[in-house]
Assembly symmetry: C2
Homo-oligomer: 401 residues x 2
């Protein structure tokens, strides 16, 4: 695809990578790309997005703008994305013109419709929570207004499209939760009693080699449903960890079997149930919040790994050299405008803590403004430090301190 | 200087840092600055210098251009430098206008004249090789043409100004080496039988706190006299290491005693003599090639540490979590023009190896084109990997492979 291995061995990774989206994931991809000597061109609607100050070129426009997507593709040797919300139809056309888009637009399209994703998993024998039924927008309105009865309690409703950071998911435990029903094309799935949420980051290169990172444990903010604390490695028995990795490999293989070009980094989010089963919750076909700790704690960060994979280079070691905990720095509810960190000093005075500040110009409730990774000799000590920082650090707005 | 600690604790590090020089050290400072959310403006004569594609603004001009230096200073909250070769007279004037330049121009001026640096060390009781005498350019011509006899053999001649990467130093062992005599204002110092070359990276913050990194061992390329392999921690007894750190602290303290604002990262290069003594060789008042491994192997990289120090933030932990070896990727003699890496594949397939490619547009003999840091569980294993990479990796020019 990019020439023979012989060629790769004797030339520089000077290719230009195009990134759809200019948020924090794109920024971290760009920082790593710059270290390796790659050029970056990004597309984002916000001229002051996190990627803006460090990419070689920023195309300002909607991620659904056909012309801008084409412009990005024409200027890049390979195109990837840091967010799923883009126009997969256009990307499929661009791909047919011979431009590499990785992972492939057809795969993204499958992932983007959570119902299709679910059906794909089920049809490939990947363990996942039971699908109860598909529901149209009209039906959801009927359920919400109690004109129609839900098939069962409790259940989980998932919007087919547009979900992100906990949006697009409703847990309906009983009659009192009916106001939570999302009025959109969606589906119901079985409610799972969760012991732990875990995730496996997997990378697949152009030659088909697959590598997984150590399984991580995710703790979610109960208010926002955004990842609140990530613990790596997960505190689970070795056999559970091995099983989770096997399932993650099966997921990647299911894409390959479906002729979907699965190249790059994927995050497979899973539930570890109270009865010890592992169920795939959902898949992100990109670098992911659950892999930020790899920057400081693993031999190859998820960002470098993704770039290696899509650039036709060999994958790097996924070994973790230090236990790590990552906390997101979310905008405090009630604060808007230019952000300010309360507790910066505490972060900087914590041994092994790394501040990543995305450089977004405004904060808002639960907006991801940055993150802190803590590495330490012991996981318990790192968790302790993370908890202390979570208590003392807040993202508010300037002037309100 | 930057407001009270209370202020720092409640605000973002959104200050703009101005960097004199846009080379690889500036690039690595910028990458870290971006992670932390700082803005970077740099001055360099080359519009396509390594910093160019990632800084917020590049001022193109000579590092000796008074107006450009002033422009840089006016646009920055604090100014620092990644290379010593700049106009310290102008910087002193700018400083008097109330602009922070760290470390201070007066300190840089002292360092830049190697004779003054030497006399400073001697007068503060810092161990260093014996100063034989000062020699004028005229005298060096006389020595070279044998019109005048050298005071002794062997000896080391050092140019007072302009030395860099081994340039400006001549080792005159006997009559046959007279052609090596540098025709410039310089001085002679005693020749030392060296067991090992070591270095201590030290950081001092605005409040006067000083931290040192583990002592490193430097192996030089005998052809170019450029750092060839860096080993951290140095393979020396604990008491030698402690002694080296004490001397490094004494050096920093000698600047403070001389009322020189020593804030930022300093590299103190030393000789460990065959008789077990430690002698200071020379001092770099900036981030340094001997500290590149800190990016991947230490809790706080030298680049973050320098930024913290000059931005008025607390220093981070200097602890090393993994043994590390760094090798420079130097341009192979005989190759010029657009660079190409032979052996890229080997680097990427080495577990724990990190490629840093500076993005210089042309290569040349012994030009620093990039570096590779290898971290591993054991230092011996890292050294083995580094040696294998040194044998297989070469920087040549495109089309010549």
């Amino acid at each position: 695809m990019f020439g023979s291995t012989e060629k790769v061995a004797h030339s520089l990774p000077i290719k230009t990578v195009g990134i759809i989206g200019g948020g924090q994931l794109g920024k971290m991809l760009t920082l790593k790309a710059k270290e390796m000597g790659l050029r970056i061109i990004a597309l984002d609607k916000d001229p002051s997005c996190p990627v803006s100050s460090i990419c070689d070129e920023l195309i300002v426009g909607s991620l659904y703008d056909k012309e801008k997507l084409l412009e990005l593709a024409k200027k890049s040797d390979v195109v990837t994305y840091e967010i799923e919300h883009t126009d997969t139809e256009t990307l499929k056309c661009i791909e047919q013109e011979g431009i590499n888009i990785l992972p492939s637009p057809a795969l993204l399209e499958l992932i983007n419709d959570k119902l299709k994703q679910k059906v794909h998993l089920i049809s490939h024998g990947i363990p996942t929570s039971k699908l109860i039924c598909e529901v149209s927008k009209e039906e959801t309105v009927a359920y919400k207004s109690k004109r129609k009865q839900l098939p069962q309690f409790p259940l989980v409703q998932k919007a087919r499209k547009g979900g992100y950071d906990g949006r697009g998911v409703a847990v309906i435990r009983n009659e009192n939760d009916l106001h939570k029903v999302l009025e959109t094309d969606s589906f119901f799935e079985e409610f799972i009693e969760i012991e732990k949420e875990i995730a496996v980051l997997v990378a697949r290169d152009l030659e088909g080699n697959v590598e997984s990172y150590p399984v991580v444990e995710m703790v979610f903010d109960s208010r926002s449903n955004i990842l609140d604390m990530l613990i790596s490695p997960a505190r689970i028995p070795e056999e559970i960890s091995e099983k989770a990795k096997r399932i993650a490999f099966d997921v990647i293989n299911s894409f390959v079997l479906s002729n979907l070009k699965a190249v790059g980094v994927f995050a497979i989010e899973m539930f570890l149930t109270k009865s010890g089963d592992i169920l795939v919750n959902e898949i992100a076909p990109r670098v992911h919040n659950s892999g930020h700790h790899t920057i400081e704690s693993c031999y190859t960060s998820q960002f470098e790994q993704h770039l290696r994979a899509i650039a036709g280079l060999p994958l790097g070691s996924t070994k973790q050299h230090s236990p790590a905990v990552m906390i997101n720095l979310l905008g405090e509810p009630g604060y808007y405008g230019k952000p300010a960190i309360v507790g910066l000093e505490e972060i900087l005075r914590t041994d092994g803590a790394y501040l990543h500040w995305y450089g977004k110009s405004t904060t808002g409730p639960f907006r991801k403004m940055g993150h802190v990774t803590i590495i330490d000799e012991s996981l318990d000590s790192a968790i302790g430090k993370a908890k202390r920082l979570k208590d003392s650090v807040k993202i508010i707005s300037e002037g309100s301190e």
